[in-house]
Point group: C2
Chain length 370, copies 2
């Protein structure tokens, strides 16, 4: 068995899979977006953006300290006005929430409690369905297709008189798949005549396809479509807990009264600054692309199948049970994604900093080639 150093050294030869960290950021980038110190355990398990919050956002938070003794309601109204303009809707169509998770949970609670049905792909992000189930909803699970993407025809076929909502996460977590734009739009337009379509767009910013539409366009058209957005991903604010829903006024009013926590003054200040910080936005997207390339190169090298990703993570065929790969990788200092049944031999790995991804690469080489 080789030592850790040996592995690192030998893997550097693998088509540049590992590079010295100092080469990963330009001097200018380094000044602007100081890389975080590597922790003992690298978290590549939660699709966080390790470069956030940006310097600009940190300054905005500090500037808001004097307001942190005030309840957040007046501040959230001001942010909602700006978000409404961004999406071409009225402020009554924006519901600010404690992360998009609160939006997902209360939408599920609002529309599907006491026996209502939600149709959802499997696997997908579970916050809405898990919460709604606790309040008596029943879930119609529709397995993803061979390409790991949603099977929209099968989803449409499951609609019944009991259906209260269809949940789409697009790009999908954990598979990273993106629905074809026209197919998605046609589906939402046709199906929202029969039930509510919920479009979770947490990973929308990472889509590489030009002019890929947000379903906010259908909200503007007055359809039964709810869109959720978050500041946790490309903006790197997962710890601050701020997201929002976009829905036509009638739907928004039903959901808004069920909000439990809403967001907080510092998150609202951060989100406001983040929306204007184009440099960090572009930087995050560029770094994510680099990290994904490195992960793809590793998986190609190890001959492990993966799904081309429109997100900040990669879903790959580990060819091992994730319940044993998880602890093995943790020993190498890397926390990988949790199991996503029924794909127990698949793994979701988040893009971290390139240094963090190097740790993942080194750990994987040890596990798979050790």
């Amino acid at each position: 068995m080789q030592s850790r150093r040996d592995w690192l050294r030998s893997s550097i030869g693998l088509g540049g899979l590992l590079m010295a960290p100092s080469s990963l950021l330009s001097a200018q980038e380094r000044a602007a977006y100081r890389p975080r110190p590597l922790e003992n355990i690298v978290r590549l398990s939660s699709n966080e953006n390790p470069y956030g919050p940006s310097k600009v956002v940190q300054e905005a938070i500090s500037t808001a300290f004097d307001h942190a003794c005030r309840y957040p309601y007046q501040y959230s109204d001001a942010l909602a006005e700006k978000l409404a303009k961004k999406h071409g809707v009225g402020p009554e169509s924006i519901i600010i929430t404690g992360g998009s998770t609160e939006g997902l949970k209360i939408a599920g609670l609002t529309f599907a409690h006491n026996g209502g049905e939600i149709i959802a792909g499997q696997p997908t992000f579970l916050a809405m369905m898990d919460y709604a189930k606790q309040w008596g909803a029943s879930i119609q699970w529709v397995p993803v297709g061979a390409d790991k993407g949603y099977d929209l025809d099968a989803i449409e076929n499951r609609i019944s008189s009991q259906t209260k909502m269809i949940f789409l996460c697009n790009p999908n977590n954990p598979t990273g798949t993106l629905l074809p734009a026209q197919k998605l739009k046609d589906f939402c337009q046709s199906v929202s005549q029969k039930t509510i379509v919920f479009s979770d767009e947490a990973y929308y910013d990472f889509i590489e396809e030009e002019n890929y539409p947000s379903m906010d366009t259908l909200v503007r058209d007055g359809q039964n479509v709810i869109v959720s957005k978050t500041f946790s991903k490309v903006y790197g604010l997962a710890g601050l807990r701020i997201g929002y829903l976009i829905a036509k006024p009638e739907l928004a009013a039903q959901i808004r009264k069920n909000v439990v926590a809403m967001s907080n003054v510092l998150a609202i200040a951060a989100a406001d600054a983040a929306l204007q910080d184009d440099a960090f936005y572009s930087f995050s997207l560029a770094k994510n692309r680099e990290a994904k390339s490195k992960i793809y190169a590793l998986l190609d090298h190890l001959k492990l199948d993966y799904v081309p990703s429109s997100t900040n993570f990669v879903f790959f065929h580990a060819q091992k049970d994730i319940r044993s790969l998880g602890p093995q990788m943790l020993e190498k200092g890397v926390r990988i994604g949790r199991p996503f049944p029924p794909f127990y031999d698949w793994c979701r790995i988040s893009t971290g900093t390139l240094e963090e991804v190097n740790r993942f690469v080194a750990g994987m080489l040890e596990v798979y080639q050790g």
Copy 2:
């Protein structure tokens, strides 16, 4: 009609009701707790603590910036351990929430949805009852007594087979009243045999009575008592949204699964630092006492009845409809408390900085002696 300046000048004669702002804080206090610039409209409407967050807490927040890209769950677990120690319970008895408001709402939802009854004094803080009503709870309202305090005997008499919970806010918002310690404890001990007693202790820190017990003592004894606490008041963190519930493990488990948003990384860092910032805690209490004395002096001068307050606000008999006094005071630059039916001729005024309270005093003198 005298000018605003004349009023300010003449009121300075009123037993020192108004003092020059520079005399209100010592040089040392000024350095440590820089008073906020007075805004156009002074907010004495929401029982906030205008001195928060303290410098120590602000530094703790800044130190946590590098963690703000991470989801908060691992951080909240560490805080829960500390809170558990503080209250002499196990960590499984602590539920961290997005302000205590989230705790109130989800407790109401958990125990009283679909027709369950909550018994509550009137007037009191409404977050739990308003939310639970939306989910089908019915509320048994029990008017406060002549002293504006809870009528515990009448509350006990309302218990029926439908009762799911009794809500006590003690000291009570908006009346500022405190229940006699022994009477409260006896009530909780006896009544929690029949139903859950929820003790909202948002204003507990402001109690002047020595050794006044928190109902966490009954949680430790395994009773059906839920205690809520917040960092919004004496700690001055209302904008950060962090509070917690304390309950025996069986009750806590039922509530925990219904948490919607939880708190955020910066609030958790702030709360952790605030718990150790004894200087700011004492400072806040001292400033609150000073502000209350000034409000009492004004009300004595105007011969308006008030309830001696165990909180950071004063409930007084305005002898005018609050729905007209509100706009009148807003014209003077002061936002006072909202109406608390059925006491439409009573007003709740929060303690602000002494500068802010001076604004309130000046405005009141204009309205009542103009």
